[in-house]
């Protein structure tokens, strides 16, 4: 079978579950989950075949059908399937993780009141993500992008009947003792789904505008041959040929225009990939089932933004790349600092996802010239695997702890649930960047890229010290990451149980789930990704599969960095990060493992001193960003603004209606009209209608 046809099968397969599931989920829950598993298994096999064919045939192209055309213009927007290394590899990652999550979900959600609906929504979600991955054009990416939003909306709001967290006994029971920064009066699954959708839409405002801008610039360019102006080849070709230099929308032209287009589209990616300051929806999104978080945080949704940014890299100017780099670096740091003070098992993971996404963006922003593109996409894949594993492990822990998510009440779980502990441990080692585990390779590449980027900027001169900041931020974040991830694992799995009753009853999940955890743990080993047992060996087999198309701004070729220099920077970075890793893990061990009495109360200790209390409060309140959005975006702009406009519009204010209503109420004409028709009989009304008609017609004819 042709790889494109096979990819189409992978794309559409989940609909076999989603469509019937939408109608019959209530009655067919178990059967639906089994069919879902089977379909996903087939899709996984097919996606592997697609990858094989893509690698073998070095495919790079799209098969499309026209979707919407505009007569009189030569614009025809198309949908279809586009395959290259990036798409094919991402497709496999999505299918594999979706399969694993489905296996675990059947166990985790067993007996849930909405059981069947999970599998229907999940299938829709996977379908949408596949569509983004295989998109042959910016438009299709946007279309499926929004459907990804719908899928996440349905999954986050899975338990839509739950009340606000403050009214929810289950939430109150499970939440950590030290929990802060959560708006419990508002937070509920239905609130979280709304928040996620709206913040994504804020980004999509940019995406849609960028898309329309590109469509116009490309289609009005003299070199446009007709067809889809948003198809990757056409778009990047136009960029390379300087289409953006000849038009001036909104008074902007040339490189500035291209930068604007890039940033507008990237705004969409900031929403989906939870980049600062739009990241506040992601932690709330844990209101969905933990297994839904596993897929949202790993292969779909948040991955979509990174994927899109990687995809549009050929049109990103240095200015736009700087924007991406800074956004990523700030996101990585902010989220990592917040993660340090979280006591909710899943909240630590949520902020670690935000932070890791920041890493990927920073890498993509560092640019392809310094290897940032390869590093960013590699980290997208490795992170997908180990983050999925971490969340499935969280599902196991939370299930074992009967819904309790408080790290303060765990401890010593390793003895009760050894498989979970080992698998989660492997994932933690991976995210820490320990040599031999996957992120050691991908994260090191990111840091090397930002380092090289900073180095180049320093060489160039102007604003040198500013250019170093993003690199410093992501490097520091490596240490912080080591601290909070080690802290989480120590608090949960080592030490003495802090709640004997709960921990004693904890147990490992069922066998299929354990198998999934172990497989994912295996995939978190570095050797799988680099193809070499030597963790310090250079290169990876993936780099030859997932390659950046040399189009758009990159068509001119990338500047070559001196090989010795690259090697030198890489080594420097590696040494720095390994030192930070040891420091971070050491600090966590000192605080939470060797001084268990201290660790549990570290929050209280911090609160005793004014300065540390300030810092702790700032972090524990999530940098006040969440509250800022709620108050400024939600309450002031949304609710207050809405009421203000509504009141101004109603005629009481100085609007046209107010004036007219005043005129109408005093006018004798209006009064007479009302009097004439009041209290009449049916015949009178019919008569009036006929008379009015007759009057009008005769008036016109007589004229």
């Amino acid at each position: 079978m042709q790889p494109h046809a096979l990819a189409l099968v992978v794309l559409l397969a989940p609909l076999l579950v989603a469509l019937p599931g939408a109608f019959f989920w209530k009655r067919t829950g178990n059967a639906l989950s089994l069919v879902g598993l089977l379909v996903q298994l087939l899709a996984t096999v097919a996606s592997v075949l697609v990858l094989r064919d893509t690698v073998a045939g070095a495919l790079d192209g799209a098969v499309t059908v026209p979707w919407l055309s505009f007569a009189g213009t030569n614009i025809t927007l198309s949908l279809g399937v586009h395959l290259d290394g990036l798409a094919a590899f991402m497709l496999v990652v999505v299918q594999v993780l979706a399969l694993g999550v489905l296996v675990v979900s059947r166990w985790y959600l067993h007996g849930d009141r909405f059981f069947g609906r999970f599998f229907a929504s999940f299938a829709l979600f996977v379908f949408a993500m596949n569509g983004v991955v295989l998109a042959p054009s910016l438009l299709q990416a946007f279309i499926f992008w929004e459907l990804v939003g719908l899928g996440s909306y349905l999954l986050i709001g899975y338990w839509h009947d739950k009340p606000a967290a403050s009214q929810d006994p289950e939430y109150q029971e499970g939440k950590p003792f030290h929990a802060t920064g959560v708006d419990e009066d508002r937070l509920s699954p239905s609130y979280a789904q709304l928040k996620a959708f709206l913040l994504n839409r804020v980004g999509d405002f940019g995406f849609m505008s960028g898309l329309a801008l590109c469509a116009w610039v490309v289609s009005s360019w003299t070199g446009f041959q007709g067809g889809d102006p948003l198809a990757w080849d056409t778009l990047f070709g136009a960029v390379a040929a300087g289409a953006f230099a000849v038009t001036t929308p909104l008074g902007v032209s040339g490189t500035a225009l291209l930068t604007l287009a890039g940033i507008l589209i990237f705004l969409g990616a900031m929403g989906k990939s939870a980049q600062f300051p739009l990241h506040v929806w992601l932690p709330d999104a844990m209101q969905g089932p933990t297994t839904a978080s596993a897929i949202i945080h790993a292969a779909t949704m948040v991955a979509a933004g990174v994927f899109l940014t990687a995809r549009i890299t050929p049109m990103l100017t240095p200015g736009a790349l700087d924007f991406v780099l800074w956004t990523g670096a700030i996101t990585a740091t902010v989220a990592a600092t917040i993660a340090c003070v979280q006591w909710d098992y899943k909240a630590v993971l949520a902020y670690s996802t935000v932070s890791q996404l920041g890493y990927m963006m920073a890498a993509l922003g560092a640019g392809a010239a310094v290897g940032g593109w390869e590093a960013g996409t590699a980290h997208l894949f490795t992170h997908a695997i180990f983050k999925c594993l971490l969340f499935l492990g969280a599902a196991s822990v939370i299930h074992g702890m009967h819904g309790i998510q408080d790290l303060g009440r765990m401890g010593g779980l390793a003895r009760k649930m050894p498989f979970t502990a080992i698998a989660t441990g492997v994932a933690t080692l991976a995210i820490l960047g320990v040599p031999g585990f996957s992120a050691f390779w991908s994260k090191d590449a990111i840091l090397a890229a930002t380092h090289a980027r900073a180095f180049l900027a320093r060489e160039a001169g102007a604003g040198a010290w500013i250019a170093v900041i993003p690199h410093l931020l992501v490097t520091a974040t490596a240490g912080i990451t080591a601290f909070y991830m080690a802290r989480q694992w120590f608090l949960a799995f080592l030490g003495k149980p802090r709640d004997h009753h709960l921990v004693d009853h904890a147990h490992d999940p069922d066998r299929p789930t354990i198998a999934v955890l172990l497989v994912l743990a295996g995939l978190s080993l570095q050797a799988v990704w680099t193809g070499s047992l030597n963790p310090f060996g250079a290169g990876s087999w993936i780099e030859s599969v997932v390659t950046l198309p040399a189009k758009g701004l990159l068509a001119a070729g990338l500047p070559e960095l001196d090989e010795h220099l690259v090697h030198h920077l890489h080594q420097e970075t590696m040494v720095q990060t390994l030192i930070l890793l040891v420091l971070g893990v050491g600090a966590a061990a000192w605080l939470f493992l060797w001084n268990p009495a201290r660790g549990g109360y570290v929050a209280d200790n911090l609160r005793r001193r004014p300065v540390t209390n300030l810092v702790w409060g700032f972090l524990a309140n999530l940098w006040f960003l969440d509250r800022l959005w709620t108050v400024l975006g939600g309450l002031i702009v949304g609710v207050r603004g809405g009421r203000l406009v509504a009141r101004a519009d109603l005629g009481s204010g100085p609007s046209l209606d107010g004036t007219l209503q005043g005129a109408a109420s005093t006018s004798a004409l209006a009064g007479r009209i009302v009097n004439l028709f009041q209290g009449g009989r049916s015949g009178a009304y019919a008569g009036w209608t006929a008379l009015a008609l007759f009057g009008l017609v005769s008036l016109i004819l007589l004229f």
Binding site: P66, L68, F70, A71, G72, T73, I75, F142, I143, F144, E146, L147, L150, Y153, H160, D161, K162, S188, S190, Q193, L194, L198, R201, V202, D204, F205, M208, S209, A212, L213, A215, S220, P249, L250, G638, V639, G641, G642, R643, V645, A646, R647, D649, S655, L656, D657, L660, A664, A670, I673, Q678, S682, Y685, W688, T689, A692, L696, I700, L701, F703
Partner: protein
């Protein structure tokens, strides 16, 4: 012959009204007859739409001009093209849905008769190509609507009906005046006007002598001696055509007026330029109907007071007549003014989108919320019209259809909820989807449709309009601002979904609510299916709207180029 086929659209409502008058006064019987009466309209309109979709050209599918008062140029001139076929099909569907859920409290015979008369006006407006009759049918809609709100509406129905009447009359009086201005500004001896060759190709007919006819007028060329002579149809295939002219006399014919577009831009009346004067007089009439900001204030009031079925008709089809009027009457006549005022018109659209969106956010009454969402959504139509390119114009028309579906769905659902709860406060519900799962599913669908989710019809219209807005340098800022509509619409609709459908059941008495009845499902499910179809496969509609829009866009460009 064409006029006879099209007379279905007049005969069914007229005979239907008469039939309803003869029937015994039994609610269920009258309702059933009303439902049945909508079916031939829907069937014929869909057949014509299918024809337009397959033909994919800008020509009229059916058109006939029967002169009635030759001295004044008044004729029974009816015609249907892709645009009017699409809107008539929508009208048929809306009529069907409205009949399904119509439940007048008392005097139901009169109610059903008035609905028939209302649709008589709708059909006439969509079909008539003569200004006098167009105006007559335009006014015919007004009268039944006034009574439908004033008699069967809510507590403040009379005030709302008067407001509706005052606004609409306030708009249509200048329209009538503008029609007369246009009529008399043509010199009494007539004019020779150059015509656009592409339009001749699209619309030509062949006369008895083998000469080319355009809108029943002979197409002429000027021969070597300077005398106008008929142009032979056989030569239409030539690679280059000579300059072609048509002789035009004073008339009320909208298509002839379109050919006069170059003339309007230079004509004067009372020493003033005719074009801006007539343009704005006519624009106001249609802008009130859309309703464009700031002429929208009648709409929330009328919607809140109107009974459910009438709200559905109002939002589903009557608002679209404003857009249709601009596309059919105003835009073809005054291309120069459209291009000159593009920035202002686009700004009106953008302001409507943002203002309507915020106003919807601030509502506590479900019906009023949907009403303001209509104002916001119809702002996209104004923006698309201002952009005046194929994307914008076809987007505006597409948005008419998709908004007709989404607003009708929302009004149907809000009405269903009101019938059960006897209130419409957004905050007065909670967890409804647990009690009424079908209602919940369709409500969420309608909200996503309104929020422009790709894969559903709403996205296609908004996307086309935004592409069009960006493609016209004069409307780019407005298009940029309008994209904020995607945040606002998701805001007010999904926030409503959260408050009404989700969370725990807040009022125990709501547990007794029955899920959607079969009549309510019959009204809503076709719209759901159609929204999905148009979203996934927009070509089925775009192939009818695109060529008409492209032709209009080309006409605008050509006339402006003559200046």
């Amino acid at each position: 012959m064409d006029a006879i086929i099209l007379s279905v659209f007049f005969a069914v409502p007229l005979l239907g009204a008469a039939l309803l008058g003869l029937l015994p006064n039994r609610d269920s019987l009258l309702r059933k007859v009303s439902i049945v009466l909508s079916l031939p309209i829907l069937g014929v309109a869909l057949a014509l739409l299918a024809l337009a979709v397959t033909r994919q050209d800008a020509g009229f599918l059916l058109r006939e001009r029967i002169p009635l008062v030759p001295s004044l140029g008044i004729a029974w001139h009816v015609g249907i093209d892709g645009l009017s076929a699409a809107l008539l099909a929508l009208s048929g569907l809306i009529q069907f849905a409205a009949a399904m859920v119509s439940a007048p409290q008392g005097r139901s015979k009169l109610y059903h008769i008035l609905v028939q008369l209302l649709f008589l006006g709708v059909h006439g407006t969509f079909l008539l190509l003569d200004a006098v009759f167009f105006y007559v049918f335009w006014e015919v809609m007004l009268v039944p609507m006034f009574f439908l709100i004033a008699i069967w509406g809510g507590a403040e129905r009379k005030a709302a009906a008067v407001k509706f009447f005052v606004y609409t009359m306030g708009g249509s009086v200048p329209l009538l005046l503008a029609f007369f201005l246009l009529h008399f500004s043509v010199p009494s001896q007539g004019l020779m006007v150059m015509v656009r060759p592409a339009e001749v190709r699209e619309q030509m007919a062949i006369g008895s002598q083998g000469e080319v006819m355009l809108y029943d007028l002979p197409v002429l060329r000027v021969d070597a001696e300077g005398n106008p002579t008929p142009f032979a149809a056989a030569r239409m295939g030539d690679a280059s055509l000579p300059d072609l002219y048509v002789p035009l006399a004073r008339s009320f014919d909208l298509l002839h007026w379109k050919l006069l577009a170059p003339w309007w831009s230079q004509a004067t009346v009372f020493g003033m330029a005719l074009m801006p004067l007539a343009f704005w007089m006519m624009f106001v009439a249609f802008a009130v109907k859309i309703p464009a900001f700031p002429l929208h204030a009648w709409l929330p009031h009328a919607h809140v007071q109107a009974p459910t079925a009438i709200s559905v008709v109002l939002a589903g089809i009557l608002l679209k007549l404003g857009v249709y009027g601009l596309l059919r009457v105003v835009w073809p006549l005054f291309p120069g003014q459209v291009i000159d005022s593009a920035t202002l018109l686009a700004a009106l659209g953008a302001v409507a989108i943002v203002w309507g969106g915020f106003a919807a956010l601030g509502q506590s009454d479900l019906k009023r919320l949907v009403a303001y969402s209509s104002i916001s959504h119809m702002g996209f139509c104004t923006l698309g019209l201002a952009a005046a390119n194929t994307q914008g114009l076809s987007g505006a028309a597409f948005q008419c259809v998709s908004h007709g579906l989404s607003a009708s769905l929302l009004f149907l659902l809000v009405g269903a909820l009101y019938e059960r709860a006897h209130h419409r406060r957004v905050d007065g519900f909670g967890g409804i989807t647990q009690i009424m799962p079908r209602f919940g599913a369709i409500f969420l669908f309608a909200a996503m449709l309104g929020a422009g989710l790709p894969g559903l019809a709403g996205f296609v219209g908004e996307l086309s309009v935004l592409l069009g807005g960006w493609a016209n340098p004069a409307t780019q800022w407005a298009a940029f601002a309008s994209a904020s509509g995607v945040v606002l619409s998701a805001g007010y609709l999904l926030w409503t979904v959260q408050r009404v459908l989700y969370g725990p059941v807040r009022h125990e008495e709501h547990r007794s609510f029955k899920d959607l009845s079969s009549a309510e499902l019959f009204a809503t499910v076709p719209m759901v299916a159609l929204s999905l179809l148009l979203g996934l496969w927009p070509s089925v509609l775009q192939n009818a709207l695109g060529p008409v829009s492209a032709s209009l866009s080309a006409h605008l460009g050509w006339v402006v180029g003559l200046r």
